[in-house]
Symmetry: C2
Subunit: 270 residues, 2 copies
């Protein structure tokens, strides 16, 4: 069965970097076309092995292909999950997760998004996240405050927390957090969940130790969450790097405040 | 902080019962107005005790108020969480969950919905679910097939399952299911999660024993899921009844097939 809901054209602020805006629009259009052309089973079929070492679903490949074309048209380099680093001879590199929440995107669960960052000389300058099914976007420039703000919450007890789904070896940490939070959610889309932290709809998001995140899963949040008053850190304090080694992994923790991030990490590592 | 995203006018099929359509439109308009008028903290403030024995948040009260007006205008009786049974002298009773996923609705997590059923002489005849943040709707008439279909999956191992959040006393059952499923999600909105089962985006939804559901949490799924080829049952086999006793509770299990429901129940009760 096909997913029959439309994928709208994203609503983007006027100031988004043209190459980043073009890739976001290309991603939404390609995902919409993929849903029309392929039933769910075909969307999730594994068609290749990605540069990040994980299998590439057809939906990922189709959307990334459209993004790569848009990046080349705008003479920007691209660092992406499946293709790895694509050198288009530019000072600007786009670090992009073409389809965050690939499993959701392939199944039809309407929780998946595009997330991209403009990186100049190894430093992220702006970030854009687009929720495919609604066209809603969150944009931020590094170091400039955003109109949306985190909740400002500092205490874990009673917090609303999004969690990475429990994986073997992290169940105990997962439960220590779930038991102290007031409400937990598992949406299976890190980039959308960290956008919800940035806009103050949930207090935090955490991978309690599964080391699932690649840099493109966290790159947008690295700009967006601090710009909205929060923090993005790794569970073990490892620095985030924008090099081309896509085998690196992190356990991302996005929180409304540094105190809440600290409380989450203490609970996870207790 | 206010939730700044708009709540669209719902997209409804032409054949929806006029009273049900009117209450759905009233609910979306009232929720949109509530988000404009009140910051998140005020939306979730407890303003009364509902007829179902749980506290009523301001967002619930505002939306239910608009629904009650629409039901009265259309001379339909109403059975709703906060108000209980409202007799408008009709043969038709609307059984409505004004805001399913109230906590999401109050926080700004864009996963909450209206869910309503037309009941004539104790028998549900049609059901409508409207996802507030997108205006998407799922409608079904009892006994008539829908254009959308469940996945048809029969096996739990490898399934995509939405779960009620883990609660004290149900953690073991929760984990037995999570460990056998391929992917789990916790969206905290039963009515939207069962709509995803009906349209084939996830294989199943289960409350693994917390007995959280009132009849209005399950009423729409009771029509929609079977019409799409699936089943909705109670974990302990208790029959669903549309009487006016809102202290009754169930643990709802919606699944793509009877076999998958059986496998989920076996895993939960093991």
């Amino acid at each position: 069965m096909r997913i029959t809901w439309p994928v709208p054209v994203p609503e983007l602020p006027a100031d988004v970097h043209p190459a980043l805006a073009a890739t976001a629009r290309a991603a939404s259009a390609a995902y919409g076309a993929a849903r029309l052309a392929h039933p769910r089973l075909e969307l999730r079929e594994e068609v290749a092995d990605g540069a990040d070492g994980t299998p590439t679903m057809r939906v990922d490949a189709l959307v990334e292909g459209a993004i790569a074309e848009a990046a080349a048209r705008h003479h920007a380099n691209l660092l992406s999950e499946e293709a790895g680093f694509v050198d288009n001879g530019s000072d600007v590199t786009l670090v992009i997760d073409p389809v965050d929440g690939s499993a959701n995107a392939a199944l039809g669960v309407p929780l998946s998004c595009f997330a991209g960052v403009v990186v100049v000389d190894g430093t992220p300058t702006e970030a854009l996240t687009v929720w495919f099914d609604t066209g809603r976007s969150w944009w931020a420039r590094a170091g400039e405050p955003t109109p949306y703000r985190t909740t400002g919450r500092t205490a874990l007890d009673g917090a609303s927390v999004c969690l990475m789904r429990p994986k073997r070896g992290t169940e105990d940490a997962w439960h220590r957090i779930a038991n102290r939070a007031d409400r937990i959610r598992v949406l299976c889309t890190t980039c959308l969940e960290t956008a919800l932290v940035a806009e103050g709809s949930v207090d935090a998001f955490i991978d309690p130790g599964s080391d699932t995140h690649r840099i493109m899963d966290l790159a947008a949040a690295l700009v967006t969450v601090p710009a909205a008053g929060g923090v993005l850190v790794d569970l073990h304090g490892r620095p985030f790097t924008f090099d081309h080694d896509l085998t690196r992994r992190w356990s991302g923790v996005a929180a409304a405040t540094p105190q809440l991030a600290e409380a989450l990490i203490e609970a996870a590592l207790a």
